[in-house]
Symmetry: C2
Subunit: 225 residues, 2 copies
DNA sequence: GTAATGATTTAGGCATTCCTAAAACCAGTC
DNA sequence: GACTGGTTTTAGGAATGCCTAAATCATTAC
């Protein structure tokens, strides 16, 4: 059964459940409600529907987990979303803080045929403009990055792997700093008491808050000096 | 008020009313129902809603006409639709018998910003792949072509202006014949009793049914020999 | 162990958009 | 001027997806 057999709402629920499940395992009603901007009561209603469709396993009061069928659809929606983001940025020059909103709508109406054409035109990309991996056609997805910029210690270097794409203002801030996937970063100093990090990007130093640094995933980290 | 203030349904109703109104003036409930694939009863219900929104003028039992506000929205939706068709064909190589279905869905979720980017990338095109004019940003739209291929007499030549885009199978047939907007056509013979026309396209002669020829609009017609 | 607290579900509604069946209307015919 | 066939509207209902308020559950604090 193709994506289009399910409503936009169902698609967004499954996608969001997948996201939360990656980070926190079993997905609680409230967490899902918060992420979707719906009331917990509404989420309970939809969850029951998803369970009836065998897209999630639901234990009342215990949250949900995706079934294989549900995960397959979630990955298809995420593939649409990230391919579209990449296409908008690359082919149409849409700024990276705007691609998310556009993809959020387009992802639900993209045909499989057009998905393939976009994939081919882009040369089969593996990540979206924010560094998030694009699921392959068969539903394969590499494991998420575990290290965040805020985890690094003074003197460590790393490569920016992925930045959170949900807050356009934060993305504009990252762009100003030159903080993009693929760019090398060095931690020059870490202020105590949860204070800011001083990082070097492109030979320029910037102070960034600890919380913001938690929204940046890194890879290829050098050992502690 | 931007497009997005109205539901997909409302957008499709207005677009369809505009189309029918161009051909037949005042739009009857049944005509609208048929075009949309809804029951007449449903159409009556929606019509009342559109009237309450001041998007159509509604006279019970007498059908509807778009108000200026309704026409403005219709033209915006049609602009989206045709720009998208053109973009899909030109930038992504989607065959011309498939662009309509894809555009039908995408048209409702296209932002004004992306609309502008697509317009610019294409070099501000004036027609879609089927020859239909693309409304300008300000809502300007040239008058429809009045002469159809089936109106021509033996010996007359003309240029293909526009073909109907609602039947993918017919579009594939046109493509086979080389019958595309911009191509010159000459009527070699017209069979009597509503029979077929023999036309020359690209120096090749084809017999086409009278009805099918009615789905082809032409311009630059030569005087009768 | 009980009591408070926060999370979750249930109950009852609302808006949207569609449907079928039945009633009402309109126009052209006799 | 009544009949009649087709058109249109009204009546009543279903599915989807959301809401608030109230009840219930589970857990943590004492
Ligand atoms: Mn979405
Ligand atoms: Mn992204
Ligand atoms: Mn549409
Ligand atoms: Mn077209």
């Amino acid at each position: 059964m193709p994506l289009s057999e399910h409503t936009e709402s169902v698609q967004d629920y499954l996608k969001t459940i997948f996201d939360i499940q990656r980070e926190h395992g079993r997905v609680a009603t409230t967490a899902l409600a918060e992420r979707l901007g719906n009331s917990p009561a509404s989420v309970t209603g939809m969850i029951k529907k998803l369970a009836a469709l065998n897209l999630v396993e639901y234990e009342p009061y215990q949250g949900v987990v995706l079934t294989p069928a549900g995960e397959k659809i979630a990955l298809e929606v995420i593939r649409h979303h990230r391919l579209i983001e990449r296409y908008l940025a690359e082919a149409l020059g849409v700024p990276w803080d705007q691609v998310h909103a556009e993809a959020e709508k387009w992802e639900h109406v993209l045909s499989e045929d057009l998905e393939d054409r976009i994939d081919a035109v882009l040369g089969y990309p593996t990540t979206d403009p924010h560094g998030a991996p694009i699921p392959k056609r068969d539903g394969t997805l590499p494991p998420p990055h575990t290290t965040r910029l805020s985890d690094l210690q003074t003197g460590q270097s790393a490569t920016i792997a992925e930045v959170s794409d949900h807050d356009p203002a934060m993305l504009r801030y990252f762009a100003e700093l030159g903080l993009r996937p693929g760019v090398d970063v060095t931690v020059v100093a870490v202020a105590p008491f949860g204070g800011p990090l001083t990082v070097r990007l492109d030979d320029v130093e910037h102070a960034v808050g600890r919380e913001v640094a938690g929204y940046v995933a890194v890879c290829d980290v050098t050992p502690v000096g």
